[in-house]
C-alpha cells in the first residue's frame, strides 16, 4: 500500500494532500491545475515537496522530517509520461531494455517477450521512436516502464496526447496491466470515463486538496467531488449476447441492460458508466417508451443541491445508481428513502468509451 502525504507551496497554489493507494489502479482524478501531476512528480522524486512523507510498505521514498529524500533513480518506479519521452537515439528494443539494465539483478522482473507480446510491439523492435505513431510510442513507453522492474508504476495522463481512436487503442493495454501485472499503478487522469474503466481506487483532487477518495462507484457518484454535471454511477454487468440489430444484452445486479454494440466477448464482465443527468426517474413502470433500459430499485438517498437540482441515489440489487433530477420533480414525485422507483436510461446515452472491455476477477 502506497501512503502519500504532501505539502508544497507554489506561487498562488498550495498542494496539501494525503491519500493511500492500495493494490490495483489508483486514479488521481481532477481538472488541470488540481495538483495531480505535482503529486506524481513528487512520488517520482522529480519534485521535492516542502514537506511530506511517501512510503510503500516498509520502504520510505520520502520523509522530510527524517530528512530522507531518495533520488529519482533510486526509487525504482516505472513512469509513463504523457508525451512518451522515448529516447530518440535508441531503437525500440534498446528503449525497452534501458530501465532493466539499471534495475538490481535480483529484482523481480517482467519477461521481455511476454511484455512485447502483451503490448503488440514485436514488429517495432528494430525501429527508432521517430518512425512510430503516437499510439505505438505510448505502447513502447508502457513496456519500457514495465520492464524496469518497478515497485510502482506511475502514469501521467498517458492518453491525453492521443486522439480518440488511439485512446481506445491504448486503454485496453492499461486494463491488461491492471489485471495481469501485480505492480500497483498510480494513474493521473482528468477523464471520468478512464476512471470508470480503470480505477480500483479513485482520489478526486480539487485545488490541491483531496475532495473525495474511495472506490470509483462511490467517488464518481459524489457530487461534492465531481460537480453536479460530472456525477455518475458505475454498473458492473456481464455480456449475455450480441444481438443482430447491433444491441448488446448485459446482465448485472441492477437488472438487464441493453447497450449499443459493446466491444467485449460474451461472458466478459464489464463496467458501464452512467452519467447522473442522463437518468430519468419514474414512480410507475413506464410503458411505450423509446428508452431500452428500465431498471427497478428503491430510493436509498435524496440530496438537494444548491441550485434547483437534487441527486437521488437508488439501490439496485446492491448496486448504486445516481440520478440528477430537479428538486421540483423530486417533490412532485414524493421521492423518499425506501420507496420503489424506476430508472430510465437511453441506451445511446452510454458512450462507447464509457464501457470498459475486460474486468479482472482479482479486483472485482
Amino acid at each position: 500500500m502506497l501512503e502519500v502525504s504532501l505539502r508544497h507551496a507554489f506561487a498562488g497554489f498550495t498542494l496539501d494532500a494525503e491519500f493511500s493507494a492500495p493494490a490495483g489502479v489508483t486514479v488521481l482524478f481532477g481538472r488541470s491545475g488540481s495538483g495531480k501531476t505535482t503529486i506524481v512528480n513528487a512520488v517520482a522524486g522529480l519534485l521535492m515537496p516542502d514537506e511530506g512523507r511517501i512510503t510503500s510498505g516498509d520502504w520510505t521514498l520520502l520523509d522530510t522530517q527524517k530528512r530522507i529524500r531518495l533520488k529519482p533513480h533510486r526509487r525504482r518506479l516505472g513512469y509513463i509520461f504523457q508525451e512518451g519521452r522515448l529516447f530518440p537515439h535508441l531503437t525500440v528494443r534498446q528503449n525497452l531494455a534501458y530501465g532493466a539494465w539499471f534495475a538490481p539483478k535480483d529484482a523481480p522482473r517482467e519477461d521481455m517477450p511476454r511484455v512485447v507480446e502483451m503490448l503488440g510491439i514485436g514488429p517495432l523492435l528494430d525501429r527508432r521512436p521517430g518512425a512510430l505513431s503516437g499510439g505505438e510510442k505510448q505502447r513502447v513507453a508502457i513496456g519500457r516502464a514495465l520492464l524496469s522492474a518497478p515497485r510502482l508504476i506511475l502514469a501521467d495522463e498517458p492518453l491525453a496526447a492521443l486522439d480518440e481512436a488511439r485512446k481506445s487503442e491504448i486503454l485496453p493495454y492499461f486494463e491488461r496491466l491492471r489485471d495481469e501485472v501485480s505492480v500497483p499503478i498510480l494513474y493521473v487522469s482528468h477523464s471520468a470515463s478512464e476512471v470508470a474503466r480503470l480505477a480500483t481506487t479513485v482520489v478526486a483532487l480539487r485545488d490541491g486538496r483531496v475532495a473525495s477518495a474511495g472506490p470509483p462507484e462511490q467517488v464518481l457518484g459524489d457530487v461534492g467531488a465531481m460537480g453536479t454535471r460530472g456525477a455518475a454511477s458505475i454498473l458492473t454487468a456481464r455480456v449475455v449476447a450480441h444481438h443482430a440489430d447491433g444491441i448488446t444484452e448485459l446482465s448485472g445486479a441492477a437488472g438487464t441492460l441493453w447497450l449499443p454494440r459493446v466491444k467485449a466477448r460474451e461472458g466478459a464482465t464489464i463496467r458501464v458508466r452512467v452519467v447522473a443527468q442522463d437518468v430519468i426517474l419514474s414512480r410507475a413502470l413506464p410503458d411505450g417508451l423509446s428508452a431500452l433500459n428500465i431498471l427497478t430499485g428503491t430510493v436509498a438517498g435524496l440530496r438537494p443541491g444548491q441550485g434547483p437540482g437534487a441527486m437521488v441515489t437508488l439501490d439496485m440489487g446492491g448496486e448504486r445508481l445516481v440520478a440528477r433530477v430537479t428538486r421540483r420533480s423530486a417533490d412532485a414525485m414524493g421521492l423518499a428513502p425506501g420507496q420503489p422507483c424506476h430508472a430510465i436510461i437511453k441506451a445511446v446515452s452510454v458512450a462507447p468509451q464509457d464501457v470498459g472491455q475486460t474486468f479482472g476477477d482479482a479486483h472485482g
Binding site: 522524486g45 525504482r76 529516447f87 530518440p88 534501458y98 527508432r128 521517430g130 524496469s148
Partner: protein, 232 residues
C-alpha cells in the same frame, strides 16, 4: 611530398597538425564541461565565466597572446611554477603554440557544444532518472549521444582554428622554425622574405585544402550522426 614542399615547409605542416591536435584534445573535455555548466547549471559567476570563455573571440589576438605571456611565460605565475616544479615550459616551445591555439579556439568548442546541449530536452534526462540511471549514466547514455553532432562540429572548428591561429601564437611564443612556426607563421615569414611569394602561395593553398577537408568531413559525420539521433 618533398618535391612539392621543402623539409622546412613540411615541418611547418607537421607542426601545425601537432599543435592543432593537442589543442583540440585538451579543449574537448574542458569545453564540454564548461558548455554543460553554462547550459544547465545556475551558479554564482556563471555570467563571468561566459564572458571569460568568449573573450579570446572578441579581444585582439595580440592581447590574448600578451596575457598568455604574462601568465604562462617563464616569468609568469603559472608558467614559472610549472617550469620550477615539473620542468614543463610553454615559452617559445610548440607546447606554447598549442596552448595559444587551444585558448583561441576554445570559444568555438564551447559555443557549438552548448547549443547542442540546450537543444536536448531535459525531460528525456528526467525519464532516464526515473528508469534508474544516475547523473553520470544519464550523461553517458542520453545526453552525450544526443549532443554528439555538436561535439563533432566543435571539434572540427577547434582543430581548424588551431591550424590557423596566428596573432596570439606569434605574440606568445614568437616565430621559431621547427618549434613554433606553424603554417600561418611560415606564410607570414615567407611574405616578408624577398622571393618568398611562391612558397607563401603554396602554403596558402595547402591551408585552404586542409580547412575545406576538415569542414566537409565534419559536415558528413554530423549528418550521419544526426540521422541516427533523429530517429528515422
Amino acid at each position: 611530398m618533398s618535391d612539392w614542399l621543402s623539409p622546412a615547409e613540411w615541418e611547418a605542416v607537421q607542426l601545425s597538425l601537432r599543435v592543432a591536435f593537442w589543442a583540440t584534445l585538451f579543449s574537448l573535455p574542458v569545453g564540454v564541461t564548461v558548455a554543460y555548466a553554462l547550459a544547465r547549471w545556475r551558479f554564482p559567476g556563471r555570467e563571468l565565466l561566459n564572458i571569460v570563455v568568449h573573450l579570446p573571440l572578441i579581444m585582439p589576438p595580440v592581447v590574448t597572446g600578451y596575457l598568455l605571456l604574462l601568465t604562462f611565460g617563464t616569468q609568469g605565475p603559472v608558467g614559472g611554477f610549472l617550469d620550477r616544479t615539473l620542468g614543463f615550459t610553454f615559452a617559445f616551445r610548440w607546447t606554447g603554440a598549442a596552448l595559444a591555439a587551444g585558448v583561441m579556439a576554445f570559444p568555438f568548442m564551447v559555443r557549438a557544444v552548448r547549443l547542442s546541449i540546450e537543444a536536448v530536452d531535459p525531460k528525456l534526462e528526467q525519464a532516464a532518472s526515473t528508469l534508474g540511471a544516475s547523473r553520470g549514466w544519464i550523461f553517458l547514455t542520453v545526453t552525450l549521444p544526443l549532443i554528439l553532432p555538436g561535439i563533432i562540429a566543435g571539434t572540427v572548428l577547434t582543430f581548424a582554428k588551431g591550424m590557423g591561429e596566428f596573432g596570439a601564437t606569434i605574440t606568445f611564443v614568437s616565430n621559431i622554425p621547427g618549434q613554433t612556426q606553424t603554417i600561418p607563421l611560415a606564410i607570414d615569414l615567407a611574405l616578408e622574405t624577398p622571393g618568398g611569394e611562391a612558397l607563401a602561395a603554396r602554403l596558402a593553398v595547402l591551408s585552404i585544402v586542409l580547412a575545406a577537408t576538415a569542414l566537409a568531413l565534419s559536415e558528413w559525420i554530423s549528418r550521419r550522426v544526426a540521422a541516427r539521433v533523429g530517429g528515422t
